[in-house]
């Protein structure tokens, strides 16, 4: 469901395939773990085909935790159905969205 990499001072969580009720608890664990370590996080949607409400809720929680810890949190490469879900819930106006990783500078 995901792989980790680094970009500048960010941890990058590359999501692929589908995030749903079955695997979002694992995603939540990983997101909160990264933020607990005091690292800023980018969630890469480029290879994500579907995200359900539990996945979106996990990212909302992550964004909220990151704000409390003065960390940065953003979504990269959102398109298709996952972007439509963010737009439907107006979360495209809440999450910092980036087209691609190379758009993000220090």
């Amino acid at each position: 469901m995901y792989e980790l990499s680094r970009h500048l001072h960010y941890q990058v969580l590359h999501l692929h395939g589908e995030v749903d009720l079955n695997n979002s608890p694992k995603l939540r664990e990983q997101v909160l773990d990264i933020l607990e370590q005091g690292q800023s996080l980018l969630v890469d949607f480029a290879a994500l085909t579907y995200i359900d409400s539990s996945g979106v809720a996990t990212l909302v929680e992550g964004l909220n935790v990151s704000k409390g810890k003065s960390l940065q949190f953003g979504i990269v490469g959102a398109g298709g159905s996952p972007l439509q879900v963010l737009q439907l819930t107006r979360l495209d106006q809440v999450f910092p969205l980036f087209a691609a990783l190379d758009e993000i500078k220090e």
Partner: protein
């Protein structure tokens, strides 16, 4: 303009049926309700089922939800044959189906938020923080933000419907059944609910079966309409095909003309005097 005409994403008739009903016959006691009904719904489409009182539309809905046993015929929903499915298969199937009942069917002892969270608490092992955010997301979507702590008795008719819809979609079902969305709503709230139904389909490509007798709403949201009349399918088609249909029963419904069935004098007299000595 319907989504079919517009050619919008998720609209039209994807070839794969998510619901396939074949030769469905049902009875209540001796009375036949559905008479050899064939019915199908394609993935991603909004199918509106219309018909007058007693036409069998609510009965059809109950059978699609496997709430009643048919006399004969076959119902396949998302690959599951309802008639021969095990209890476990039906439970799994129902997890992927949302149902918004006519009156909202909320539990009066629970707040709005707790009503919406109920399916998540019953059917998932998600963390309570995740459940809380999911419920709030759906309430935002239904313009019910700030109503989380209200009790059902404190809600208007439109708010009850929207809360029921929030609960029906909180698990992101692939299939949503909606019973009489517009019934009892003022015209403005009714239009808002129609827009919400269209928005939901556009964003998450949810398949919907909407039972209604509200013509304006049906023609606005439907990709296809099924018209039931006395337990039989009178016509299935796009809104344009339904408007153009020359079946008198369909035209009577569209033009709100009362039915003019010929009277069988003997049967009528027998019905009226059935209780007389």
């Amino acid at each position: 303009m319907s989504a079919v005409e517009a050619g919008g994403e998720g609209a039209g008739a994807p070839s794969q049926a998510i619901i396939q009903v074949t030769d469905l016959v049902t009875h209540y006691g001796d009375r036949q309700i559905l008479k050899s009904v064939d019915f199908s719904v394609n993935r991603g489409e909004i199918m509106v089922v219309m018909g007058g009182s007693g036409s069998g539309k609510s009965t059809l809905l109950r059978h699609l939800l496997a709430l009643e046993k048919a006399t004969s015929g076959r119902i396949v929903v998302d690959g599951v044959d309802i008639g021969s499915a095990s209890r476990k298969q039906l439970t799994e199937l129902r997890k992927g189906i949302g149902v918004a009942f006519q009156g909202g069917a909320l539990l009066s002892s629970m707040s709005v938020a707790d009503n919406v969270k109920l399916p998540l608490r019953q059917h998932t092992r998600l963390n309570e923080d995740t459940i809380d955010i999911m419920a709030r997301l759906k309430l935002e979507l239904m313009n019910l933000s700030g109503c989380e702590d209200l009790m059902p008795a404190e809600l208007s008719g439109g708010m009850l419907k929207r809360t029921g819809l929030a609960r029906a979609v909180v698990m992101d079902p692939k299939l949503l059944f909606f019973d009489e969305p517009s019934a009892g709503l003022d015209p403005v709230t009714s239009v808002e609910l129609d827009d919400l139904i269209l928005k939901l389909r556009e964003a998450v490509n949810i398949t919907m079966v909407v039972v209604t007798h509200e013509l304006e709403s049906a023609f606005k949201i439907a990709d296809r309409i099924t018209v039931l009349f006395d337990g039989e399918i009178a016509k299935v088609g796009t809104p344009e095909e339904i408007r153009a249909c020359d079946d008198e029963r369909v035209q009577n419904m569209i033009n709100r003309r009362p039915r003019k069935d010929p009277v069988d004098a003997n049967k009528y007299l027998n019905r009226l005097t059935a209780g007389a000595r």
